[in-house]
Symmetry: C2
Subunit: 399 residues, 2 copies
């Protein structure tokens, strides 16, 4: 089944009665709505013409400076000149493709990986070198198989990855940074869920480890980092950023000029006001608590309703659980079953089949989002999916 066919199929999730674990949406209850309304009013009152006027392509300077200060790891010195504001971090992926990638280039990716990264770079006619991952993230022991491909860069989501929810262990982070530094291969570190850790301690970012390796002397740019306000403030305002060496920021800025001139000023000013006043920081514990309870509910429901032949990941944060069905089960046809509305049936339930997150294979995997549904819905939805799965397993395959 093609990605477009799956998109078509998932349109049914808009109908009432359908429970959807398909989207990658934050909970609307996680939006600090009153604070955003207040801050926005203040911006329009005090700096309205600035918020509505054209702005610099590089971004709103106070926001760039805040990000440089707030996201500089202990061993890396960053300034506003190292930060480009992007229209969501998705635009960061496209811009990096625009300046770095030519047809036929090879990009290393975790397998599975973020679908829209594949989509963004496929437009530049590149090849992907999949690096298998397990419950500890990218298997760095498998990197040897890709070195011969002269990779343009390696793309990695180290924390609570989309789609698998897994986190790259510290020792693998160190190996990845060392091995790529040795070979002069840049890493694109995409870390949208960074702040949403429910258990355990934060691990150092790849950016931080690269700085430490280098001896804390400035910022050599081995790791280019993507970040976003989408998961801690609002995805709908489309404000993200790229941290890169000045020379790369300069090229990205020229590319961004042709692409959308600049990111909306009002939105950047909202993000800045929410960030530098501490309003985002204050709000994060409430998001974490909500999502942790939802993740726990989903893991418990999976244990209750799914057959023993099915396995899944145990995410320490983020928004997704990843499910491995028995080898012979095709998740896309399970989706067809689970979306069928039957008179006496339990009602439809949706998820995203795992195939499209892979460059090849993965037909027996699927992604479940736990951040967007409340706990009763999670219980009901996973129960429905368990029934669909049992029904599906009971039908002998045609082939």
């Amino acid at each position: 089944m093609t990605h477009s066919a799956i998109r078509e199929l998932l349109k049914v999730t808009e109908q009432p009665g359908c429970i959807s674990f398909a989207g990658g949406l934050p909970s609307p209850d996680a939006f600090p709505l009153d604070e955003v309304a207040e801050v926005t009013q203040r911006i329009l009152r005090d700096s309205g013409t600035r918020a509505l006027q054209y702005g610099p392509t590089e971004g709103y300077r106070p926001l760039r400076a805040w990000i440089a200060e707030h996201y500089a790891p202990p061993d890396v010195t960053l300034s506003a000149e190292n930060v480009l504001i992007t229209t969501g971090s998705q635009q960061g992926l496209d811009l990096l493709g625009k300046i770095f990638l030519d047809p036929g280039d090879v990009v290393g990716v975790e397998s599975p990986t973020y679908l829209a990264a594949l989509q963004a770079w496929t437009a530049y006619e590149v090849e992907f070198a999949p690096i298998p991952s397990d419950h500890n993230g990218m298997q760095t022991s498998r990197l040897n198989s890709v070195w011969s491909l002269s990779l343009k860069f390696i793309y990695c989501q180290p924390n609570f990855q989309n789609p698998t929810g897994v986190t790259l262990t510290l020792s693998r982070r160190e190996k990845l940074v060392a091995a790529t530094a040795q070979r002069g291969i840049p890493i694109i570190e995409d870390d949208p869920y960074h702040a949403l850790r429910f258990d355990g301690e934060h691990l150092p970012t790849l950016l931080s480890l690269a700085g430490r390796r280098q001896g804390g002397d400035g910022y050599a740019g081995h790791v280019i980092a993507l970040g976003t306000f989408s998961k801690i403030l609002s995805p709908g305002i489309r404000v993200g950023w790229i941290i890169a060496p000045e020379a790369v920021i300069h090229k990205l800025t020229l590319a961004k000029q042709g692409v959308d001139l600049h990111t909306a000023m009002l939105n950047q000013m909202i993000a800045y006001e929410m960030a530098h006043t501490g309003l985002i920081e204050q709000h994060i514990p409430a998001i974490i608590q909500m999502y942790r309870e939802r993740r726990d509910a989903m893991l418990a429901a999976l244990a209750t309703h799914f057959p023993a032949s099915v396995r899944w990941t145990m995410p320490q944060g983020g928004m997704f659980v990843w499910v491995y069905l028995p080898e012979q089960v095709d998740a896309a046809s399970l989706l067809e079953t689970s979306l069928e509305e039957q008179p006496e049936g339990p009602g439809p339930v949706a998820f995203v089949p795992g195939g499209p997150f892979h460059t090849q294979g993965g037909a027996n995997t699927l992604r479940l989002n736990f951040s967007h549904s409340d706990i009763p819905t999670i219980h009901e939805g996973i129960s429905r999916l368990g029934l669909a799965l049992k029904k599906h397993l009971a039908v002998p395959a045609l082939s």
Copy 2:
């Protein structure tokens, strides 16, 4: 002088005392700030979670429907499915490049043309076929010279073009539409200043003429139209649109998914509320009056302060006047002169040299923006520029 060198030079315009006609900025006095503040507060209060959540890639449906209804010419039937919301109309240029252009393709452009269109499509490694223009816009009699180049499309700003300010006459519009229809070459009609006509009557758009030609039977898509809220509401919110056949919108949507997922929801909802309540429409006469007075002031100042050997355009709307210096004068070196701060001098004044708006030539032309400066500033700035010009003309060329 390269475009980057000019950008560097123009950084000086940020210093106090410098008068700048360089930017393409609307007047901040043209922003309906109170109305935007009120509407934004209402959106965040009544539909806040929608405004802050991810939205569909195609755009906010009520806005798409409003644009389809409001911008459908008499002979063209449009629906929301014909509209993609873009992150400013600059993104429309990039997306059209992404889906239509391959390296080596040839794009027909007015000469001079909008700089950032050249920039957006240069990224796709295309060639440009310049079609000369005069005070009546693109010289359609010169189209014969480009047909042999198998153009991918022709790009045209028919109203108050950026940079020249000129308007394509009705008979040339008809010729352009007929000649391209006959050869199956699409037109990209970019019309950001449409509503800002100060004198005379609105001419039918190319979209409208193509529909009329076709006999008012639906929308065949010969003309793809770009529009924006930048000049009638706010450029800083980055909301524009593309009108195209459904099949093209579908391709553009897939491309946009990889590029920035969707345009900010809050911004689309602000545009929709301002548009469908008539608040934008009500506000336009005030913008027109302000800009008309500024244009008149600039034309009068040019007549007073510029030598007889200099000519300029008489824009019927928009934001720019275009100046032709004597053949031997290089506008980029005039800019160096006019930016020089001298102890007893009149102070620096900035403009954009015309070269970068051309694919070749144009060194003796320059663009002046009249929308962003008040009338006393326009008088003072043009007087300074007249002095710089006289000084420049007095120095014999080195060569």
